[in-house]
Symmetry: C2
Subunit: 480 residues, 2 copies
Amino acid sequence: MPESPITARGEDFATWYQDVVLQGDMAEPAEIVKGCMVIKPNGYAVWELLQRDLDDRFKATGHQNAYFPLLIPQSFLRKEAEHVEGFSPELAVVTIAGGKELEEPYVIRPTSETIIGYFFARWIQSWRDLPVLINQWANVLRWELRTRMFLRTSEFLWQEGHTAHASHEEAVEEVLRILDIYAAVAEEVMAMPVVKGVKTRAEKFAGALKSYSIEAMMQNGLALQAGTSHDLGQNFGKAFDVRYQTREGQLDYVWQTSWGVSTRLIGGLIMTHSDDKGLVLPPRLAPTKAVLVPIYRKDQERAQVLEAAHRIAHETGARVDDREGQSPGAKFFHWERRGVPVVLELGPRDLAAGKIVVKRRDTGVKEPVTQSDLAARLPRVMEEMQAGLYQAARERLKQNTALANSLEEVVGILREATAEKGGGKFVMAHLKDDPACDARMKEFKASVRCIPLVDEYDGPGKCIVTGETVDRRALIAKAY
Amino acid sequence: MPESPITARGEDFATWYQDVVLQGDMAEPAEIVKGCMVIKPNGYAVWELLQRDLDDRFKATGHQNAYFPLLIPQSFLRKEAEHVEGFSPELAVVTIAGGKELEEPYVIRPTSETIIGYFFARWIQSWRDLPVLINQWANVLRWELRTRMFLRTSEFLWQEGHTAHASHEEAVEEVLRILDIYAAVAEEVMAMPVVKGVKTRAEKFAGALKSYSIEAMMQNGLALQAGTSHDLGQNFGKAFDVRYQTREGQLDYVWQTSWGVSTRLIGGLIMTHSDDKGLVLPPRLAPTKAVLVPIYRKDQERAQVLEAAHRIAHETGARVDDREGQSPGAKFFHWERRGVPVVLELGPRDLAAGKIVVKRRDTGVKEPVTQSDLAARLPRVMEEMQAGLYQAARERLKQNTALANSLEEVVGILREATAEKGGGKFVMAHLKDDPACDARMKEFKASVRCIPLVDEYDGPGKCIVTGETVDRRALIAKAY
């Protein structure tokens, strides 16, 4: 057997991840454009499936897509004090256009709150104009020093929702509605369990009152922030003078939200399900769901097997890999690395018995199925695999979540996890929402991921740093 | 009656166009970002329908979507001599990123031949790797001095196809296959007749061997280049060293194509069908196909009409405009300007008669339909309107196309058209494919739009400038 082109997870998780991305033909680094990548067809097709699912849910909840300019006048970012501080170090700046030095440079959008705020001010006059529920599918750019395909790249693709409401209550409802959508897509579509929570003040979005996130656990126990939903309060409304006449005839600033998920989700998907053989895709996000590999030795077998293969493919929607000059073994290997959920094996003996072998990518289990039953069986295998992947990830999350009641315990748990497999754990501990407490976690290369919305533990307790009583445990972890 | 917010076409076509775009809530200028626009929800929804249709056709012909970086190292553009000359004046340049001056600036892609050429060189080694059939949905930026919403904006959205082939013949087949797809979408989906042709040498894409285009006629007789498909020959293959081993074991450069349509199509759509009352959308591109406006005076009528309205909407997929505080007249006006193909009127008298009135946006014709027949009638009305719009545009194209056999005749026809309505005509004349001949047309503010692929006229004839014999007539017109 040839050496695997994929490093084992246990050996080096970071290299494993990169190998899976490359061998799965998902993406490749674009070294000539610092920190950027090319999303290859197999990766882009996964993104399209995710997009379609998210987009349908946004539209079903009343949102409309629109498109705003890529370039933002540099002065716009300065209008919201926290916002400019948060994003300034990451900006790419256009100083020359049409052969001339620009009087005011533009920045490439790192996110679009500012430019959309400007247009909201033009569009919104009265309570009758509210709510405004806009989403944008776009590329954004944040100059990053340390990048990793999908997880952190200078340019990435995302959707950014931007809404304006007549009350804070309504805005908060929107923020949580979207957080629920994100969690549902992560769990139901990506088979990736997440913890929904609120960010600490130190970790919130630059310019928000409050930020909410979904946090997922990767196979090495590290956390991945997979989506965020922000309650912007009236901060951007004030910065861009987005005022409206209330029902009562007063002038007030609108209450805004913004929220986004990005191609980063694909990184999370890969690190949740893939294995040492390569990419594993949950059926709902697999561009190709089943590939049939015909097996034959002699020419007379070939004709019979291929004929049956194409008939079965026609009945079931599977794709036949009838490439010449490639052994069945090479084909299995090819589709395995590309994360196809099910490979169907059909040889002369199967043919004689009226059977076909269904092999699941995640478990490797082979199941002989009567050919005439396959069209009915295949969708069920997909459902079982989708559920199985979710269960396995859910179980891993549970196994790798620990309670801690002191700073020493937190540090001990994290150190042990790092020592064992270079990974992490989710540690639940009582911690005050105070930047000083966040800073203590940073000393150990961990951070407060969120304070979960649902308390699954023991309610109030004493902060492990200050000793003050806090409502519930926070989720502390090393993160991407 | 209040004054129309829309300037009449006959009065000022350019202002009419802008009024239709604004009143149809399709887009608005973003003055703060030079030459850019915001695509508003009504406009973006049309783009999404167009995208979906095009994307399905690209995939059905074996193309896959991928995504390449927005930023391109400035040196890349210089690798193909014609290309850099063509695009240099329009570039936006990033010179600062992450707080530092860049050693080599990046340009924001004006088109992606160069960066994709770089990756093709990495991906393609052997004839077995060919063809490579890639498409990208993306934003691009070309700094423009004179802009017009949708038709010419500094940033625009488009798709760009990029393919590599093992022979010139195969590449040309691809170029023409795509040109056919563009023409089919224009005619079948947009109801916009087009002339398929090859560009003159003076008008071809910077870096192509040959460019093909579809040209549409706007209501004022001006031409709009609505899509282009380029035979790049081996120019970019040589510039980026994209070589492959042939079946015979030789090394050769690949043959490439590129092709694109953009949000400009929406401008063409608007200028083909809309009228002095505002936007007209062909049913296949209408985000909302039918709106039911309930009409009532008294409260007891209200309940009955609304109940029937919602029942009918449920049966037919129409949307009910049940906004309070708006008169039926205001509602008719609202949907008219937004280009909804059919408005359904339902009042107490219709209700008593078991009828509903179907009003078509394009003809204004009102047709009373028995309520129980509506679900069956409505799709047919849509088909009739789609066909009617196409026929009307086709007829206009025919009426406004003239033959000319001398330069004086060409100039006379164009002058007359300009004098009459500030517009243009399509003039078919024999003209040599020589930049000097193109230049003569420019003297009269016209250009050679294309040399049509199908000769609908009289075959060879003498060039109106040089007197040399050429194969067929070229299409000369004023253009956007």
